[in-house]
Amino acid sequence: MILMILFHWFFVGLTAPFLIGVIARVKALVSGKVGPSLFQPYFDLIKLFSKQCVYSHGVTWVFRISPAVTLAAMLIVCLLVPFGSLKAPVQFSGDILLIVAVLSLSRFFMIAAALDTGFSLEGLGASREAFFACLSEVALFMCLIALTLLARRMSLSGMLGADSPLSWNLLGPALLMVVASLFIVMLAENCRIPVDDPDTHLELTMIHEVMLLEHSGVDLAYMYYAAIIKFFIFGAILVPIILPVQTIFPFINTLIFAGGMIGLAALVGLVESSMARIRLNRVRNLLLIAFALAFFGLIVTLWRGAL
């Protein structure tokens, strides 16, 4: 059990930054540049871990504890998500609720830490984060309900096909809408374009990055690592639904999973290269579209069940 947990963390910690490197490389290639190394996120993390923290005047313990809470939350969520043939160390009926709640806890501390500095820029980011979280959480729950009904199970591992994968032949239309909705939620939750721009630091229209303005050194490394792991988690939830292929060879399963994750990262990179960040007051429309997609997915599911 403990070995499984440690191995799970080890696996995530080692492979997650690579995905961010893939996204950056795809974006560079599309715009005709060579781009940074695929391992650049690792170098960034190592650099940050070797730096001191600088705190601003007047911040309290909430600010100092929030990076640890955020990273711990992501590591906890990891334990409930299966990675390909690597089964989730903890799975129980209703674990989806725990996932959402732990994500919310990390969000609470991130917002509280941003407000703790008392700076209006960070307040701006915090306010937007709180607002978009309301919409994306509702869409996420809609997806989870649809998946519960499709898989007739209440644990994430069950939904992602630990014992019987969801079949595209049988559930095609509903599953397609749920996947599209989850993809939008993933973009929003991970602060990718078109909702937020993870690259710029000074633009006043940002959400996630602006909340990290006052974090530095190891604290920033924690936050950065947490964001990377969060992307990995959402990818690991999406990929098994899109590619419900299971062979009897664990090695091939892992290869399929890894290929799917890299493909998903490349897709995110393509989305980021092909569109601009949309205006802030239209983000809510995008999230409401995600909600509507999941809603229609649910209706199709219910209608199938009624037949």
């Binding site: 504890i65 915090a126 309900i145 209440m154």
Partner: protein, 611 residues
Amino acid sequence: MESFLQIAWPVPFGELALKIDPLSLVFLCPVIILLICAGAYGVGYMRPYWGKRPLGAHVGFYLLFALALLLIVTANNVILFLGAWETMTITTFFLIIFSDEKEAVRKAGFLYLIASHCATFCLLIMFFLMAHFAGSMDFTVMSKVGFPLELAGIIFLLALAGFGVKAGFLPLHVWLPYAHPAAPAHISALLSGVAIKMGIYGLCRVLWIVGILPAWCGYMLIIIGVICGVMGVLYALGQHELKKLLAYHSIENIGIITLGLGVGLLGRSYDQPFLAVLGFGGGLLHVINHSLFKGLLFLAAGSVISKTHSGDIDQLGGLAKTMPVTSVLFLVGALSICGLPLFNGFISEFIIFFGLFQGVLALPLLGVIFSVLGIIALALMGALAIACFTKVYGAVFSGQPRSIDSGLEYSKTVDETTSIWMLAPMIILAWLCAWIGLAPKMMSGITFLGGACLARVDLFLIDMSRIYIPLSTTIGIAFLFSGLILGLLVMRRFILGAEPQPVREAWGCGFTRVSVRAQYTASSFARSIIDLVKNILQARQYGAKAGGYFPLRARLASSVRDVSEDMMFRPLLAGLTRLSRKIDARRVLYTQMYLMYIFLFLIFLLVWKLR
């Protein structure tokens, strides 16, 4: 398990009886805990009034109020219940109007009194119907009678109207946001923690007595829960006054409780005992949890207000440095009310969520639709509550005081010299929140017992491991989580070394030395959410933006109106006043006419009876 204790004593024309069954027990826990904690807090809170005010009367009413609460929960007889109910209403009125030199306080008190008495009218009719059909005033006897479905429906509606006023169901909640801020802090804590729960207790008792209800009752409860919950938290987001905001959050939590009861009722109607126990048990656990964390929050808010003499969130700030203990306690309450892991709110919301997902899988199509509605609403409430409480914590305890004139002055004078009488009750409540959050076995056991009592099933016949295993795994994960946080903090310490890290001017994109007024305020924090729903909330903005090249003074104020007050009750009451004026104008001014009316009425009665 029928009951733990039964006492009966004969009185002329009948018999009064006390009984403690699992349902009473569930409500007794928060009543006793909160009465003790709020009482102790009151000793410290009322110290400045010693010798200046008739505190003896206040204490007397407090004790009478306590007695009434205990009687309501344990009464097993209609007469005793109604007597205690009225005693509670009247004593609460006197407790609310402690600062009766302020007109707003007197108005809030009268609003409460009038609303409560309109509610009691419905209760009288309801109990009359029940007692008439059952032929007894005794709750136990009544519960053995099978009420016909139509009568059961009418009784249910009357109970909703009567107990709904006390509980604060949405259009009937108008007294609540006025009474809570008007009362002293420990009374607000009791009002929100216990008094409005008596409405829920009454509703539960009726659900217990009337064993078979039509299926629409469950759906109706879910709809009420959804409306109360979502609207309550939205109204709370728009408030600028600390205690009023907490009062609106009580409406939200009542919504969550009602949602749980609705799920339980659906389970009972569709013969799904596990679902029924989950719904009722989750709702009842949230009753206990809400009184603990809302009591804590009101007491902490009272400490803030008694120190700064201001409840205006947009003026406060930076109190985490001057009142560190209170700020930690408030944060515990905030985390609990948002339903986040490690604290008690999560446990009850987890059980209700679990029940709703169970409903999605087990109920027929209509039930599935309502369960989905419930899940979505609960998710939305959770996210909005996080927005609301980060707003409160951030605005009150973080940053720096926002008002130049009064703020800077209090930031120097406020210190943590809160008396032990005020701190100890808050620490106890915070500890209980964490205790239920990390070791929920005992409390959830009691509430599941109460839930089984409401669901009218034997708990031993249901496979409760289906909920206990997820719960215990969740608790294990919570411990791992806190260990991990600690581990990461230690790791940071290990990497950075023991010497303290440098503290510098905040970077803030290069903006340094900005005025404290330029901090993000609570209203601006909530604005993007309020803007999305401004048509529902009737959000208004007054004042003008600064314009031109050399802007002069500008002023902006915003407010959120209560729709049910402005659009329902004001027009309704205005119409009633007009109607009574008209009747008054037609009044006949000589006595013979009245004699004739009486005569005609007697003839009518005679004909009616002779028929």
